[in-house]
């Protein structure tokens, strides 16, 4: 039985990845679960320089999900290259570096710094709802998304995954735009902009007012958008959004995802990624599926 998939030319031992921002660079989870069992780790977003992120509260729980407004706090590419990449390189799993920036040159600088690094894929975050410049400004406009894609592709030595925002009218249009601009893959969905108000204090629950909604609450929206993107583009899709169990991951795969990122669920159970991979294996055995690739986009 084969659980391996090919993501933009990179082979993954299984389709389960960790979603950016929920797993650090793996070190914090390393003693709670086995990183070697992951198809890959998608790191917390890294910029060309350190970012302080947003003020607190940065987190609010909501029904069936959570809001976050971290604001892409990160130590900058230098520390990341010195500390995080060598740590991850010790494990038998793929390294996908999530890249964030405030301007095209920020993104390009990070991609250039990573060119000679033992990194398998780049995931470009153009869909963070919690930063003013960069982030979602690129993610809600197909032309801007295409431009940033071209600029990064011009310097990147690894395959480039463009991470798309669900906060758009037409996700298929966004996917087509980055595909036409040379993206090797897309990942979707990033969080959906949400808000929580503390009715007793009569103020926003998050210092940033709005935050990104993640968790099972958004899963049906992720399945729909992965399906729409899969009908619109030929490049592979990394599906994510509220995956809590093997069935959720399989829904995204059947809708057209080649790989699946698990995010918020890591907070509910640090071993969830392994349980999801085991669950997919069981499903394949029970359903007589020889090769997981038979399932990719099998529901049309």
């Amino acid at each position: 039985m084969n659980m391996g998939v090919n993501l933009a030319g990179i082979s993954l031992k299984n389709p389960i990845l960790t979603a950016s921002g929920t797993f650090g660079s793996g070190e914090e989870y390393a003693q709670l679960m086995d990183l070697n069992k992951l198809g890959g780790v998608i790191t917390k977003g890294v910029a060309n320089v350190p970012w302080e992120g947003n003020p607190t509260p940065r987190i609010a729980e909501v029904y069936g999900g959570m809001l976050n407004a971290i604001g892409l706090q990160n130590p900058g590419i230098d520390v990341f290259v010195e500390r995080d990449i060598p740590f991850l390189a010790k494990y038998d799993t793929r390294i996908v570096v999530n890249v964030c920036g405030r301007s095209e040159s920020d993104y390009v600088e990070v991609a250039e710094r990573l060119a000679d690094q033992p990194v398998d894929l780049l995931e470009i975050n153009i869909s963070c709802p919690n930063v003013k410049e960069g982030g979602i400004a690129y993610g809600q406009n197909p032309h801007a998304a295409a431009e940033i894609t071209k600029a990064i592709k011009a310097v990147a030595k690894q395959p480039v995954i463009m991470k798309l925002s669900p906060n758009v009218t037409d996700i298929a249009e966004m996917a087509r735009a980055v595909e036409a601009a040379g993206a090797d893959a897309v990942s979707l969905i990033n969080t959906i902009t949400g808000m929580k108000i503390d009715v007793r204090k009569r103020r926003f629950a998050l210092a940033n007012r709005t935050g990104g909604l993640s968790g099972p609450a958004i899963h049906p929206i992720a399945v729909r958008m992965v399906y729409e993107a899969a009908q619109a583009v030929r490049i592979p899709i990394v599906g994510l959004g509220g995956v809590m169990c093997a069935e959720d991951a399989l829904e995204l795969i059947l809708a057209g995802a080649t790989a699946v990122s698990v995010g918020t669920a890591n907070f509910t159970n640090p071993r969830i990624t392994e349980e999801i991979t085991d669950g997919i294996r069981e499903y394949m055995l029970e359903e007589g599926v020889e090769d997981i690739r038979e399932l990719i986009g099998a529901v049309r």
Partner: protein, 255 residues
Amino acid sequence: MTEKFYEDAIIIRQEEIATNIYSMWLHTEQIARLAKPGQFVTLYCRDGSRLLPRPISICEVDRGDCSIRLVYRIAGAGTAEFSRYHTGEQLRVMGPLGNGYPKKSRKALLLGGGIGIPPLLQLVKELNCEKQIVLGFRDECFLVEEFEACGKVYIATEDGSRGTKGNVLDVVTEKGLDAEIIYACGPMPMLRAVKQFAVQHGIQTWISLEERMACGVGACLGCVCKSTKKDAHTHVKNKRICTEGPVFRAREVDI
């Protein structure tokens, strides 16, 4: 990084020790063995609508019995769910988390306010020095007897129903308490006042902070506080309360 475990714990017993304040003894495989004063655990809700684990400080540890005591206030639907659990029921726990208090053999002043009091109990039990304990409550008191078994206890209540009318620092002033080290846990306004007091008197002070958490292990960067110097891990002036904390040298943090 401190060793931590994600396990199923069994409730040994639970009781309401004051209005909406619950005391729960949990039997754990590994956590009790490792737990240090000032560390915390996260508890996972059963109800599927509540996803995030709830951080709760460790009040007491019985390593021989492999058990820990948690004393928490009902602050929402999650803690309300925990308060309905009965003896013998299982719940998911992760821990021990965070750094905990340093144990110095110096004349100590322990300052606890409200639900910040529980984590000081295991600390006072393990401290081997002269201990002055000041506990501040709004009105209803709890855990007082347990602290009295460990040292001299002073009480402050906002309504004056017991001990000094006012807060913990009013007691320190009124009784003219002095110390070589301060350990404090409580609401932010109290901690700010304690930090100011410590600076004025040049006393080494350790405070325990709290913030909304998601992962509890330092991965998500949700629960940071502002630090006076650039942090060695984050490389910005943010420290992760769940990992570099929850206990900080007062002068390290900008509160």
